[in-house]
């Protein structure tokens, strides 16, 4: 039971890390970057390649963060910024396009096969009541909690985090108040890309590197946000851990074929009962 719980939380940690990436970008651009799951999977393949070459771990993280930041900034400048103010959902199309490109490049350069990502930690098992878990899974839970609380603190207590929330409330007023929204959007995109790539060595041992995982992570990360409340990092943390836990419990009780269906059912119910998510806020409409 404890083993299932921890294993589920570790899986949920993956979703939380994707969801935080979504949130950072959402706050400043009001766009959901569908490519976020692609960043994590691309990061996994880069990690595998660099492990093979014997690159030191610290350098791997640097390379991942730099690659992710550049890729996401390019995505923003080519696909998001030109359509941002148009209001016709074009970002939906262009960020799905970006996700598709990332998947296509992985298929071309690497392979269709599933690859295993070596853990950063000793590949042993820790005995817990009801089974065992890996140190990598424990690390993933800790990383998700730290990242979730850190991102939450950033939006509440730092100058730049408050500015990001200001931009999300009212872009024009924020501009008038001296926030350089364009530079800010580039920065948050770069940060989300760096985050997506850099968590790959932690995520890899848990979910395996395979192209199709990109879409799955993008979808699940977003579902977590819909449940937790879009733009809220505490929601991302609690929603992520909750969804991961639900998946493992369902898989354990009814079989793996049901776990996606169960998450979908919860997603639908939350949207019906509390469309703004658990931590979301409502606003009155104006003419």
């Amino acid at each position: 039971m404890i083993a299932t719980l921890l294993s589920g939380l570790a899986l949920g940690g993956v979703y939380t890390l994707v969801a935080i990436g979504y949130n950072v970008v959402w706050l400043t651009t009001r766009a959901v970057n569908f490519a976020q799951g692609g960043f994590v999977v691309a990061g996994m393949f880069v990690t595998v390649t660099l492990y093979h070459r014997g690159v030191p771990v610290a350098l791997i993280f640097l390379i991942l963060a730099a690659a992710g930041a550049v890729l996401a900034a390019v995505e923003y400048s080519v696909g998001v910024r030109p359509v941002q103010r148009r209001g016709d959902h074009a970002e939906l199309v262009t960020t799905v396009g970006a996700l598709t490109v990332i998947q296509g490049v992985i298929l071309l350069l690497v392979s269709q096969d599933v690859q295993r990502v070596k853990s950063l930690f000793p590949e042993t098992f820790l005995d817990v009541p009801g089974g065992r878990i890996t140190p990598a899974e424990l690390a993933l839970i800790i990383l998700a909690v730290v990242a979730g609380l850190g991102a939450h603190a950033w939006t509440r207590h730092t100058r730049s985090g408050l500015a990001a929330r200001g931009v999300s409330e009212d872009r024009e007023t924020a501009m008038v108040l001296g926030v350089n929204t364009t530079r800010f959007s580039y920065l948050t995109f770069a940060a989300s890309g760096a985050l997506g790539f850099a968590v790959a060595p932690f995520v890899g041992p848990k979910v395996f590197a395979v192209v199709a995982m990109a879409t799955v992570l993008s979808i699940k990360g977003f579902v977590v946000l819909a449940v937790g409340g879009l733009g809220n990092n505490l929601g991302a943390l609690i929603g992520g851990l909750g969804v991961g836990f639900l998946e493992l419990i369902v898989a354990w009780q009814f079989g793996t074929a049901w776990q996606n269906t169960a998450v979908f059912a919860v997603f639908i119910v939350v949207m019906l009962v509390r469309p703004r998510g658990i931590f979301g806020e409502v606003k009155e409409r104006t003419v």
Binding site: V32, V78, G79, P82, V83, D88, H89, A90, E91, L92, V93, T94, V96, G97, A98, L99, T100, V101, I102, Q103, G104, V105, L107, L108, A212, T215, V216, I219, F222, V223, A226, A257, W258, N260, T261, F264, F267, I268, M271, L272, P275, E284, R285, T286, V287
Partner: protein, 607 residues
């Protein structure tokens, strides 16, 4: 009325004839010597066209991107698997069951997805595609699981087994029939309703259009062609496997839709044919497919907003302009008779309305009424609560206390579209004019006045024709009332501000409103336009309408209003005739900002 002889009817008749000839030619193409490999491509293009048309309806026309099409396609295919293999092998029955299943799935996923729209619907529908293999494997006994299932019998129609030629003919006929329905739907008033909705949900609700239920209907219907295509697809090879219905198909469908033009009917064939006969054919392309689709989606999302059909329309417009058949676009409107006809006004009663925003009291116990055949002006300095009150009356805000009645109907707390249906029409401070012709802008207000069901519009049933004729008469009459009769075909968004205000007024009148709310309708108008406006408002009042005029221009208020309600800091200062109000000491002090001795200037000054 000589409707049958009108050029529009003749064009429609010609289109129908061409449609039938093309359908017949394609349906009998195998008999006419088309090679089996080519007729297979014809079937594949037709099936992909059906799927893409569903996306065009929900994304292009209703403005909500959904990736659900592959899931709908799967529902159709597995309907064939289950119904034909286990129950009755009749393709007509299979199509009906598949369509019903598609509608049901559309409703179940659309209700939560559309509540928030945008990203939520996109993700919910993409998730649905992800679930296909899981559900197929859970129901392995029925579906054959991941490995797929073969042995689907040849199709039968009413007991007659169809050979390959018969199957091709059936696919062509079903595709043709759906596209005729699809075309009729989007070219009817429903298409204009969707266009207004997509461009401004606020405007749509002020016209009585329920944003949610209209989008839900469009979304649910958008699943029909994909499920029918899936049902037909299962018979093509007699084999169905879940990997046909993956995320990759969703990307292909989106690419085809955007390539042909998401807001087009015939563009669907172009987009579907290009993708089916191009990338989906070659194996060498396969390796690069994802990169190519992805790059295309980014480029298309940024630059190719209207697809190939949009480029074609632009080209046709240029050709017409060059060869002298340009659309005439007069720069301004002409004066016209000031007769608004009989209007059945309703009494608007506002009693005890209070509204607070946080610690600010915007409205405090406001009461007044507007009688039929009366113009009441609502004046007050900026921040006095005029617009807040208007937004409460039309349902965009909820009052904390108090009630609003339209006639005998209480409208307090109703959503905007229900208040509009109760007879309240309004204009906006900044005119809200969607990108369409002047005639269509006015016609969009008729959606909830005379209702026509989607089926009636798709099949062009008698009621659709009757209502279309009534609408076009009413539209012509209100356009002539406001003096825009000559501009009916002009592009509404290119009109100057004053003309746009008159157009908004015409749109409000077309709704045959019980109560007309005009929000600073005179601001930005020149003297001629002001005269025109006064003339129309008087005509509405004389016809029996109830008019509530929110206005800063006191000269206009004095000339038009029967009574004036003066608001200051959220409270009613006085309700009196304009001449009395002009002399009222508190009004002079609070509102006109002048000592009582300057009373005489109030009548001629601006504010």
């Amino acid at each position: 009325m000589a409707i049958a002889d009108s050029p529009g009817a003749r064009r429609a008749g010609g289109l129908a004839a061409v449609w039938i000839v093309i359908t017949a030619l394609l349906a009998f193409s195998p008999e006419l010597g088309l090679a089996p490999s080519t007729s297979r491509q014809l079937v594949l293009v037709a099936l992909l066209s059906l799927v893409v048309s569903g996306l065009n309806l929900s994304f292009g026309y209703a403005g909500e991107l959904s990736f659900a099409q592959p899931a709908m396609y799967a529902v159709g295919a597995y309907t064939t698997v289950i119904v034909a293999m286990r129950w009755v092998n009749d393709i007509a029955l299979v199509l009906v069951v598949a369509a019903a299943a598609g509608l049901l799935l559309g409703l179940v996923t659309g209700i939560p997805g559309l509540r928030l729209g945008g990203w939520m619907l996109a993700i919910a529908s993409l998730y649905l595609v992800l679930l296909v293999p899981d559900i197929v494997s859970v129901a392995k006994a029925w579906t054959g699981g991941h490995q797929g299932i073969g042995g689907i019998p040849l199709p039968q129609l009413f007991g007659v087994e169809l050979d390959n030629n018969g199957y091709v003919a059936l696919v062509v006929v079903v595709t043709s029939a759906w596209f005729a329905c699809f075309r009729n739907l989007v070219k009817s008033r429903a298409g204009k309703t969707l266009s207004v909705l997509r461009q401004s949900p606020v405007l749509a609700s002020s016209l009585g259009i329920s944003v949610f239920s209209t989008k839900l209907k469009a979304y649910a219907i958008s699943g029909l062609p994909a499920t029918m295509a899936g049902a037909l697809f299962a018979y093509l090879d007699g084999f169905v496997a879940p990997d046909t219905f993956g995320v990759e198909l969703a990307i292909v469908v989106l690419a085809a839709s955007i390539l042909g033009g998401a807001r087009s009917v015939y563009g669907v064939f172009v987009g579907a044919a290009l993708l089916q006969l191009g990338p989906m054919q070659s194996n060498t392309f396969g390796d690069y497919a994802f990169v190519a689709y992805g790059v295309f989606l980014i480029i298309a999302g940024v630059a190719l907003q209207r697809g190939i059909s949009g480029l074609a329309a632009d080209l046709a417009g240029k050709v017409r302009a060059r060869f002298g058949q340009a659309v005439v676009r007069p720069a301004t409107h002409t004066a016209a008779p000031a007769d608004a006809g009989r209007i059945t006004g309703k009494q608007l009663t506002v009693s005890g309305i209070s509204k607070r925003f946080g610690g600010v009291t915007a409205l405090d116990d406001v009461s007044f009424s507007v009688q039929p055949g009366e113009v009441v002006a609502l004046i007050g300095p900026n921040g006095s609560g005029k617009t807040t009150l208007l937004n409460i009356v039309s349902g965009y805000y909820r009052a904390d206390r108090g009630t609003v009645h339209v006639g005998t109907t209480e409208t307090t707390g109703l959503p905007p579209h229900k208040i509009a249906r109760a007879g309240v029409a309004r204009t906006f401070q900044t005119p809200s004019i969607p990108a369409m012709s002047v005639r269509d802008v006015v016609e969009s207000a008729r959606t909830e006045v005379t209702r026509v069901s989607i089926v009636e519009a798709m099949l062009r049933l008698p009621r659709h024709r009757r209502v279309a004729a009534t609408d076009s008469g009413k539209v012509a009459s209100v356009l002539s009332t406001v003096g825009l009769g000559d501009l009916a075909n002009a592009d509404a968004q290119t009109l100057p501000l004053g003309t746009r205000r008159m157009l908004e007024l015409a749109r409000s009148l077309a709704a045959e409103p019980g109560v007309l709310l005009l929000d600073e309708v005179a601001s930005g108008l020149d003297d001629d336009e002001l005269d025109e406006l006064s003339r129309v408002i008087r005509a509405v009042r004389d016809g029996g309408g109830s008019v509530l005029l929110v206005e800063h221009n006191f000269a206009l208020v004095r000339a038009l209003a029967d009574r004036v309600v003066v608001l200051s800091q959220g409270r009613v200062v006085v309700v009196e005739a304009p001449d009395v109000v002009a002399q009222h000491p508190e009004v002079l002090e609070h509102y006109l900002g002048e000592p009582a001795t300057a009373a005489s200037r109030a009548g001629t000054g601006g504010k």
